[in-house]
């Protein structure tokens, strides 16, 4: 049976274990925007410890961007983002029926099985940029073993975010076609740890890590680049990826969107209302903070969402990682 709780050693720890150290607040983009502890894990945990119910925290819980920056910094090893999802599950989001309907429809249309060894779950943003998607598949498919999955679980990702239960049928419809793949590359960082759990036999990688490990891309990173790591995947596999990106930094000398705790500073602040299209995203202040005080000549992003955010506030070129290989060809 599939499980929606990520089985880390921290999974059993919850807000009742919070010591109140506040390290999560330091890295939380929502707190940074609002300067209000009620919009930080520290605030929820302490409020819940002292008599509040999830219903008292509705706005704050929906506003969390699930960037997972708070997970690796928590010294009590609380699965903070997991705790948020559990609390969200106790609230009923007004869009629940819509999200359930999307999943039910998708479950009725099972995707064909992936016949290749490597599957790419491209996600909605990349699908909306077919040229970039085909560029990425060409880059990754050197050995002709890659297939773009028809079903990339975008509806599941949104449902998870909204705390809406994913039915076993819908989950099976996503997972079964991927069973033959021994490597799954996923663009949506939120899904990464779940896929690792649902497909224990496969190796799961983020699209950012996969692209940046290609020599053809890597060698085009410059010392004056700001390399923007997609936070959700990075924080979900922090212990391993911190070392990976540290090696990349040493090799290429570029700057990263890492803070002093080596947490990836998100470039966007999109809570559930923005993800569901109920509110217009306003990422300008956060993207500007990432750039603040840095002398760079180019921004290289792993995620298209970040590209859009930087293009609004920066006058240096913003390129997707996959586009670095193009610049080599010119």
């Amino acid at each position: 049976m599939f499980d929606f709780v990520i089985n880390t050693p921290a999974a059993h720890k919850s807000y009742s274990d919070c010591s109140g150290c506040g390290l999560c607040t330091l890295v939380c983009p929502v707190w940074r925007r609002k300067r209000d502890l009620q919009h930080s894990p520290l605030g929820w945990a302490k409020a819940l410890q002292h008599g509040a119910a999830p219903g008292d925290l509705v706005d704050a819980l929906w506003n969390c961007t699930l960037c997972r920056a708070c997970d690796p910094v928590c010294p009590e090893r609380i699965d903070v983002s997991g705790m948020i999802l559990k609390l969200r599950a106790q609230l009923v989001h007004p869009q629940t029926a819509v999200l359930q309907g999307r999943m039910a429809a998708q479950a009725r249309r099972p995707a064909p099985a992936c016949q290749e060894k490597t599957a790419l779950l491209a996600g909605e943003a990349l699908r909306a940029h077919p040229a970039l998607l085909s560029r990425i598949t060409a880059l990754l498919d050197k050995a002709g073993v890659l297939v773009v999955a028809h079903d990339d679980g975008a509806d599941i990702s949104l449902a998870l975010e909204a705390g809406v239960t994913v039915s076993p049928e819908r989950l099976a419809a996503l997972i079964e076609p991927l069973r033959r793949a021994d490597k799954v590359i996923v663009a949506d960082g939120l899904l990464l740890p779940y896929l690792a759990q649902w497909l224990p036999a496969a190796r799961i990688f983020s699209l950012g890590e996969t692209l940046s490990s290609l020599e053809i891309i890597r060698r085009n990173l410059r010392v004056t680049d700001l390399y923007v790591i997609e936070p959700r995947a990075y924080h979900a596999d922090y212990v391993r990826l911190i070392k990976y990106y540290d090696r990349l930094r040493k090799e290429r000398g570029c700057d990263f969107n890492l803070d002093l705790q080596r947490i990836a500073i998100p470039a966007t602040v999109r809570g559930l209302p923005q993800r569901l299209g109920l509110m217009v995203p306003d990422d300008d202040a956060q993207a500007s903070w990432v750039l603040h005080g840095r002398s760079i000549t180019r921004i290289v992003v792993e995620s298209l969402e970040d590209r859009a955010a930087f293009e609004k506030v920066s006058n240096v070129p913003v390129v997707h990682l996959a586009e670095l290989a193009d610049s080599l060809r010119r």
């Binding site: 109140g20 150290c21 002292h50 603040h292």
Partner: protein, 523 residues
Amino acid sequence: MPPETSELVLTEPGAIGPCHVGPDALLGIKRQQTNPTRWNGQRWHPFAAALRDGGIELRENIAACGTFATDAGGTAYGLPHGVVIARSAAQVSALLKAAQQFRVPVTVRGGGLTTEGESVAFGGVLLDMTGMSRVLHVDTEALTVRTEGGIFWHSLAEELRRYGMDYLSAPLNLTSSVGGTLGVGGIDVNSPRLGCSADQALALQVVTPRGDIVECSDTQNAELFQRVVLGYGQFGVITEATLKIRRYTPLRMHYFYYDSLRTAVEDMQLLNRNDASDYSGILTIMDCAVNLLVAFDSDERETAFRANWQSKLRGHGEPGFALCMLRRYALRPWKLPEAWYLLQRKRELFPEFRRSEYMHDGLMYDRTVVFSRAVWKFWGSKQMVIPDLATSAEKFAEAVERGNAVCRKYFPHYTLYCVGIRLRPEHKPHYEMSCIPPDAEGWAYGCEFEPMMDDRVYSRDYLQSFKNAIYDIGVELGGSYYRFGGMMKGYIRRVFGDEVVDRHLAMKREADPAMILNRDVIF
């Protein structure tokens, strides 16, 4: 001898009552904490209405109030009637004016890292300063920063590093605030050279308890400046601060290991007296493994240390110390469980101080991150009891040894953290009735005594007895404490004497007629 009468003497709010701890009390006898009573809520409703009429957001719901129910100590609990998030000096001023008028207590909170309930509101308003946490201006020429008072030191560091700058010294926990720290001290491993955080303040914007917004410094409204710096939030709310900064440098770390507390303390003081290192401090595993850490900002300073001072230190390197330990426990086999604990602790702790992501080419890039994360990981918990002693240089080794004996008596496992604070003679007026001991010249020294709870549950009385036993040593030595407010305020008269305390009380009454600001922290 028990007191002759046990009659309850009623005290006017704000005034200090008779000391609850009799001067003849026996050392180590369990005593009750001096937890303040909850404010009775008189005139809360018209006060709340006045605030709202003035456009101030006041949150009275359980989520808002519950967030601040305790501090890092986790032994004092109290709920405010309402919470205000600080947004501007003008808003804080309006709040304090209304609070004076309606006699409603206001408790100011920064990071909330006190351990004696000083930042816990026992009724009234909790003013959350973290709402004012922006950096206003960095001057890389004059080497100063102007920042809002509620900023966490780590947020300040994040911003300064974008300019290649760093603050001078700050507590090793990342989440204490500038305003909260300037009021109590702020000790770092570079304090033996650069002084405490409070000494970095060049100017402050303060909202006085009557609601006036005043800029103060050593030259402008100097008397207010003297009272607010190291003033435990009694004389005003720090809404902005101008601090000294410096160019950022990574660190060259050295560790020396001792099996004697006194020897390590003497060696640390030798380094400090001779300005032989940029950073120094002692961190122990009980009194068995005593680690003197020494660090440098530059190759030149490190080279000079190697040439002139390293051979004078009596500590060992890691392999040498391992041999010492082997000898020690081979001769004392009944102490093997202790040896096992040391080994376990070493295995957990050491890698944390050497994590590759914070070290490049042998240099430590983010010392505050490394130390603070280790502090939270290995010493942080929902309940933290960290009594301390601050003394002059001469009395320090004795204070550490006596405090260590108390720790041994009360807990199987504990840690001591010792560090020096370079004093600035021209700041003597700031130091009166503060964590700086009255008799300290040149340097003050502080030692924190932190028991490891190890999943054991201790009663509050037990923990309180432990704290009292430590604090009693301070009284006997004529020292001071980093944490003497809140639940430990019963010690204030004992350690500073009536004359000083009464003078400060008179100043407090003058500045804060309704005694509303940070009530029960000191007065």
